[in-house]
């Protein structure tokens, strides 16, 4: 079962990973975007973890996801702020009032996040965006609901991430490059990979 303290750990771990890979994300974004992805996410996640109340056990998952979403919306800026923010706000909706969710529910939560990204960004799977991590992961978890190996999920995530390299960007700043976007990883897909690697590691340590 997944509860609030997992989410808090998850986001803290994500923050650490993003801060550590800020320069790499910057370089990826410089290649097919404007170079701010790492900086924006680091700043926004910093705000998100500051925002989480020290006594988070009083809150339900819906409230925590909402807080994270609002912090990201207000502090990341750019495309990814709106998108990650929308994802978490959508995730908050399906968790409303819940203090605990099952693994099956987690798949639905991530699916809800993907819907948030789709709705806000009008992107489809294959457009070379962060959605190319979110949607496949939701599908994968839905399929493997009986028994999940977090290591396998990590492997799956990295495969999905690598796949964005060969795609032509259809949404976001990289889309202006058209076919010249091929050969580069999508920065948002990479940061989303880190986000979910952090989730895997958190849950691997013990749900």
């Amino acid at each position: 079962m997944i509860q609030v303290e997992h989410v808090v750990k998850w986001i803290q771990l994500t923050h650490q990973k993003i801060v550590a890979t800020k320069d790499k994300l910057t370089e990826l974004d410089q290649a097919i975007g404007d170079g701010d992805h790492g900086i924006n996410l680091a700043r926004g996640l910093d705000a998100a973890i500051q925002n989480l109340s020290p006594d988070e056990s009083k809150e339900d998952l819906g409230e925590v996801f909402q807080k994270i979403g609002m912090a990201l919306i207000a502090k990341v800026g750019g495309a990814s702020g709106a998108l990650y923010g929308s994802a978490f706000v959508h995730m908050a909706k399906v968790c409303k009032g819940k203090k605990l969710i099952s693994l099956a529910e987690l798949a639905q939560v991530i699916e809800a996040g993907a819907m948030g990204i789709k709705a806000r960004g009008r992107a489809e799977v294959g457009d070379k965006t962060m959605l190319d991590i979110w949607q496949p992961l939701a599908d994968y978890l839905n399929e493997h609901i009986e028994k999940v190996s977090w290591e396998k999920v990590q492997q799956f995530l990295f495969e999905q991430m690598e796949k964005t390299k060969e795609l032509v960007a259809k949404k976001g700043r990289a889309a202006f490059l058209e076919s010249r976007s091929i050969g580069h990883l999508d920065p948002g897909a990479v940061s989303s990979t880190y986000l979910f690697i952090a989730l895997c590691e958190t849950l691997d340590r013990g749900e």
Partner: protein
């Protein structure tokens, strides 16, 4: 990276403070935000709000004032401002006649402004938006995100701002803004890239003998990298791209903007604008006015963009209306 700054994290805030301190007659800063609003908000009129990432100064704060924008929201460098900030700007300048958002066509900007619009509508404020996509360097396709918004945005601010000042309705102001957008085409080129303060290294590296055609104003790569050619050739290439997208015939009337991207001396801008003027003269196109200078920059990027706005009598008349801003 050599910059006249204090700390990369505070460049936007300090710049906005500096602008407000320098021009209290024209603008003021909303407390605890990076929003600049005009001081004379008495006149009940449709309000215009624009903004976007910082690093494009004087856009957009430099165009806040009587006859142009009512508020400009500044995001972090090259990063769209967030919905809460945009919402605050909307609320600060709405005088009951509605608010028009002027957005440059970047996913981040569009999404954040749309979110703010939803929030404002939820609070009962009448809001409309227009999205500027003047950059012909990018192919126009309904399958993708379309074109970027660059220097032509300033013409939208000016003309929509003039009409709003005359008391037009939100619909009318939105319509004229859309008309300007339809008739405005731009394209740029760079001799060097720019450095986001928090990143500390350039967005792309250009060898000493190369230039980038059609790059974006955020250091995004362009459409083609070429050996550096003469100013006349640069002007000709840019003009021919614009002409291809918006063919101009003899006796058509245009406003021209030769916009410096940040580090290009005015001497060079005028050498480029000379050729642009000559090409238009040769085609017997009437130039109503030419604007040469820095309007939509890209930090310390060297290079320029050329914008054509095809005018009719109404647009020309509005373009010529006075405006009290820092940079118009």
């Amino acid at each position: 990276m050599k910059k006249l700054i204090n700390h990369p994290d505070y460049v936007v805030q300090e710049m906005i403070e500096g602008m407000a301190l320098a021009h209290p007659q024209i603008i003021r800063k909303l407390n605890d935000t990076n929003i600049l609003v005009r001081t004379d908000l008495n006149n009940a009129k449709v309000a215009l709000v624009s903004g976007g990432g910082s690093g494009h100064e004087p856009a957009h704060g430099g165009f806040v004032g009587t006859g142009m924008l009512d508020a400009a929201v500044a995001g972090e460098v090259f990063t769209s401002p967030t919905p809460d900030q945009i919402l605050e700007a909307i609320k600060a300048v709405d005088r009951g006649k509605g608010v028009l958002l002027i957005i440059k066509n970047y996913s981040g900007d569009v999404m954040n402004f749309e979110m703010a619009m939803e929030l404002a509508e939820a609070e009962g404020i009448l809001v409309e938006k227009v999205v500027v996509d003047d950059d012909v360097a990018v192919k126009n396709s309904t399958y993708t995100v379309g074109r970027r918004g660059i220097a032509g945005t300033i013409f939208v601010h000016k003309i929509a701002g003039a009409l709003a000042e005359q008391g037009a309705s939100l619909d009318e102001v939105k319509q004229i803004a859309d008309r300007v957008i339809l008739q405005t085409k731009s394209m740029g080129m760079a001799l060097s890239s720019c450095i986001i303060p928090a990143v500390g290294k350039p967005g792309f590296e250009l060898p000493e003998d190369e230039m980038e055609m059609g790059m974006g104003i955020h250091g995004e790569p362009g459409i083609e990298r070429k050996k550096v050619v003469s100013a006349d050739e640069v002007a000709s290439v840019l003009v021919s791209h614009l002409q291809k997208e918006m063919p101009l015939a003899a006796n058509d009337r245009v406003a021209v903007m030769v916009n410096g991207l940040g580090a290009t001396p005015m001497m060079e801008l005028y050498i480029v604008s000379r050729k642009v003027s000559q090409l238009l003269q040769e085609s017997k196109i009437q130039v109503h006015r030419t604007f040469v200078g820095e309007y939509m920059t890209s930090l310390e990027m060297a290079g320029c963009s050329v914008t054509f706005l095809k005018l009719d009598n109404v647009l020309a008349e509005l373009l010529d209306q006075p405006a009290q801003t820092i940079a118009w």
